[in-house]
Symmetry: C2
Subunit: 189 residues, 2 copies
Amino acid sequence: MASVYSALIHYPVRDREGTIVTSAVTNVDVHDLARSSRTYGLAGYYVVTPIAAQRVLVGRILDHWRNGAGARRTPERGVALSICEAVASIDAACAAITEREGKEPRLIATSARSEGRPIVTYEQERATLATTDLPTLIVFGTGHGLHESVIKRASVVLAPIRPTGYNHLSVRAATAITLDRLFGDGPSD
Amino acid sequence: MASVYSALIHYPVRDREGTIVTSAVTNVDVHDLARSSRTYGLAGYYVVTPIAAQRVLVGRILDHWRNGAGARRTPERGVALSICEAVASIDAACAAITEREGKEPRLIATSARSEGRPIVTYEQERATLATTDLPTLIVFGTGHGLHESVIKRASVVLAPIRPTGYNHLSVRAATAITLDRLFGDGPSD
């Protein structure tokens, strides 16, 4: 399998009314998505925010767990955060992957809604991931989800995790479930 | 299907050395597990801590999202937290379920390790859940996992999500994946 990367997007995302906004970085998201990404064997995890001060904040969190008191107390967390990096945009994440892998990544978008685009099931995407020789970047939205400009540019939009009924999963939960469905051993395990 | 409940255990859990400890309640765990539990149709979610002051704290968090400023800003979060309650012990959670359902619940333990007990696959537990007329309580550990006394008293110990290799999922991620494997529509969706 070619390398797979995840990214947590703080811009461009939607607010409650669907307006494009920049959301704030949440400390626990930095950890949780790094831990899930590393557990499922991803090659990297990008925290995407255009706000330079927030990227500095992410750098401090990473330093605490990789080199500081956190690394001494909980070394396995440093292992997870070793694959994490803050970048300014989805384009910057794609460029970093292209430089590392020598090929531009496929972009997979995720959404809690049907986005008016053909959606791909987890089973279909598992099959693609098993055979493609391109790297893949899976993007997750904060706030009320990825802005439509991200949905539109993606190669693939994954099916909503819970297509009907009440669905208010946190991005931490949604990321974990998505990675488990794509890379886990499944319910028979 | 009979009613299913979740519980997040802050005592008795293990610390890094395996010693029995009481962990502190984390704000985001209250939300995230309520949101995952409600999304997958569970009947209730218990935050279990023997520390009275921590149960008061949980009560304040619940009040903020059910009745306070949070309810006005994000009403769907109040829906999730409406199924949440803080209780002093696993026994208290079991007693509350027994009173509500008229039958004692089956207790399902979860662990990131193989616990030296026969483990049950998610597929096997899905089959049991589909046919049992008993309520079920699924317990998740904070810290370094449920103390062995909880593992020993459980009817069932679920298989580790990632039985081999690096595994450092947060309890928020592990709960989401467990509920998706037991109650989700699976990778074909």
